[in-house]
């Protein structure tokens, strides 16, 4: 089985002891009903709640090799987006096979579910779970009709950092027929000044709420030229839902889709709206 590093991972037998090095991978193992095999997860693995009771092997960026080896897994699930290469190599050098799954979009998530399912000996169940997610996603991304709100997906409110082109969140926005206002900027996670917000003038803002994230400061929200602030169109989503490339991204897509539909209902027929915040 080829993983997302391009490494072909061969297992001598079906794995019975798993370590997961990312919350998204832990969620996939639970989705497949294989949580009984998990002997180690990261300290960030908090979903489903039972995952919190599993033994911890450190963090995503700082997995503890010694604890992983002590847990005696016969397969480690890892990602290239957060786990340091050297750590993964060190685990492999201890003779423990590692399978990397780093989905970059929704179809990557389905594929990761199917490949991990095949590795764990439940290929049929994996196919049906992936199929169910696919169906939910296509229901949520109904054909583009009506107004296309300009949307920003905010990952940090101070400073304001948003999801740009090439991110999951960009895909979620586009699938619901909205326009990602940050696509005009280069880079995956551009940082915007208040004046940039005035210029892009988003109609709808999603905030990925993470532990400790502040609300927008009043110095930013007082700019009523920004339609989203003027109309109170700021929607907070669970940060775990939108920042983990796991099965729950589909739930995030459903929430984004609902919010965009609700926005369309509130702003229907008002197609000649003036854009605020433009100078001159």
């Amino acid at each position: 089985m080829k993983d997302d590093r391009g490494v072909v991972v061969r297992l001598p037998s079906e794995p019975r002891r798993l370590v997961s090095l990312a919350p998204s991978l832990t969620e996939i193992v639970f989705l497949l009903g294989q949580e009984g095999k998990l002997v180690g997860v990261t300290r960030y693995c908090n979903y489903p709640p039972q995952a919190g009771a599993l033994p911890r092997i450190g963090g995503i960026a700082d997995p503890d090799i010694e604890r992983i080896v002590a847990a005696a897994p016969d397969l480690v699930l890892c990602t290239t987006d957060g786990n340091p290469k050297e750590k993964v190599r060190a685990i492999e050098e201890m003779g423990i096979p590692c399978f990397a799954a780093s989905p970059q979009d929704l179809s990557g998530i389905y594929s990761a579910i199917e490949r991990i399912g095949a590795l764990l000996g439940v290929p049929d169940q994996a196919r049906s779970e992936a199929g169910a997610l696919r169906a939910r996603a296509s229901r949520a991304s109904r054909a583009v009709e009506g107004q296309r709100p300009k949307v920003l997906f905010v990952l940090s409110t101070s400073p304001v950092i948003v999801a740009g082109k090439g991110t999951f969140l960009d895909e979620l926005i586009r699938r619901t027929g909205a326009v990602n206002d940050a696509a005009a900027y280069a880079g995956r996670y551009p940082r915007l000044s208040t004046e940039d917000l005035l210029k892009t003038a988003p109609d709808l803002i999603f905030v990925a709420a993470m532990a400790g994230v502040e609300k927008f400061s009043p110095e930013v929200t007082r700019w009523k030229e920004i339609p989203a602030f003027r109309d109170g169109e700021v929607v907070t989503l669970d940060g775990d839902l939108v920042t983990r490339p796991g099965p729950r991204v589909v739930a995030a897509l459903e929430e984004v889709s609902r919010a965009v539909s609700a926005w369309r209902e509130r702003h229907g027929g008002d197609s000649g709206r003036k854009k605020g915040g433009r100078g001159r």
Partner: protein, 334 residues
């Protein structure tokens, strides 16, 4: 004096020009006419209702003024530290001011509830003042303060505070990490008119006091003994310079975060222009520092297509090559 007056006039021109450039640069197009109309519409009272005029007056102007104050204050403070420690590598952060401010700011950011941004500058300033006075008290012995002890204490306290900073960042909840990191890198976007208004008297008092201590700084450069024999109350002057320069740096860092390199490089640049007499050097360094930081901020706002860059990175990126050029041109001396 006659020789340097034109240079100071040119520096003042550049300083004002940088403010004008900063105020007229940004992602939205605003005309001068809009700003004037916006201001006069209310008879020069209150904030204008026109968006463009408000962008200029409440976003860009405070930012430019904050850059002027912070750049000027860090450079003046750097001049004072370099003279006090007789060390060309000294800068405002060398004796623990930065570490103290950072620990204070991060404590405010992480421990206080979400919305309370206001106490952050206060906590940062307190941290800076505590660290600076701690270093000073520990470096003191019966006969006064020696430079070597000051540097040693400053470096040790700095290392200790750095360790605290790393721990605090490592333990911060993910949502707060960007805010903490951007503060550590320095950010003029935190400037608002009220904050600039609060900062102005501190900077004016600090830079003014250092200016009054000019002769003392000149003599300190010669060393303690010659300074003492010229009738300078050496220990008193050292104490005054140390406290003023530390508090000056602490007060601006509290608002802008840790903007690096300005306080190290600008004093050397100013010395090349006007020599090392502090009566001319201090004003020149203030103007040059303000100009440099404002221009670095304009660059940080416009250079990247992916939004703003941290201004602290821009100051070092653009400043380091210039610094090397100066060093080479002057045969290793500035």
């Amino acid at each position: 004096m006659r020789r340097t007056s034109p240079i100071l006039a040119v520096l003042l021109g550049a300083f004002l020009g940088a403010i004008a450039l900063s105020v007229s640069t940004g992602p939205t197009a605003v005309s001068l006419r809009q700003v004037v109309d916006g201001l006069t519409a209310n008879g020069w009272r209150g904030i204008p209702s026109d968006t463009g005029a408000r962008v200029v007056l409440t976003l860009r102007l405070p930012r430019a003024l904050l850059g002027a104050l912070v750049g000027g204050a860090l450079s003046s403070s750097g001049v004072a530290f370099q003279a006090l420690l007789r060390n060309p590598l000294a800068d405002p952060y060398i004796l623990g001011v930065s570490g103290g401010a950072a620990v204070g700011a991060l404590a405010a950011l992480l421990l206080l509830p979400g919305d309370s941004f206001l106490p952050l500058p206060l906590c940062a300033f307190l941290g800076a003042a505590l660290a600076a006075s701690g270093v000073f008290l520990m470096a003191r012995h019966r006969r006064g303060v020696s430079r070597e002890r000051l540097i040693l204490m400053g470096v040790v306290v700095g290392a200790f505070l750095n360790a605290l900073i790393m721990l605090m960042v490592a333990f911060s909840p993910p949502g707060k990490i960007p805010g903490a990191l951007y503060w550590l890198m320095g950010d003029l976007g935190l400037g608002t008119l009220p904050r600039v208004g609060v900062l102005l008297p501190y900077v004016a008092a600090g830079a003014g006091t250092l200016f009054l201590l000019s002769r003392g700084l000149d003599l300190l450069l010669l060393g303690d003994e010659p300074a003492f024999t010229s009738g300078l109350p050496v220990e008193k002057v050292k104490t005054a310079v140390y406290l003023t320069a530390s508090l000056l740096a602490g007060s601006v860092v509290a608002v802008s975060g840790l903007i690096g390199f300005v306080g190290l490089i600008v004093p050397h640049g100013a010395r090349v222009l006007v020599g090392s007499g502090h009566r001319r050097l201090l004003p020149a360094a203030f103007l040059l520092g303000g100009t440099f930081l404002i221009l670095a901020d304009v660059l940080s706002r416009t250079a990247s297509p992916s939004g703003e860059l941290p201004v602290g990175a821009v100051t070092a990126l653009s400043g380091a090559p210039f610094f090397l050029y100066l060093l080479r041109r002057n045969g290793g001396k500035t």
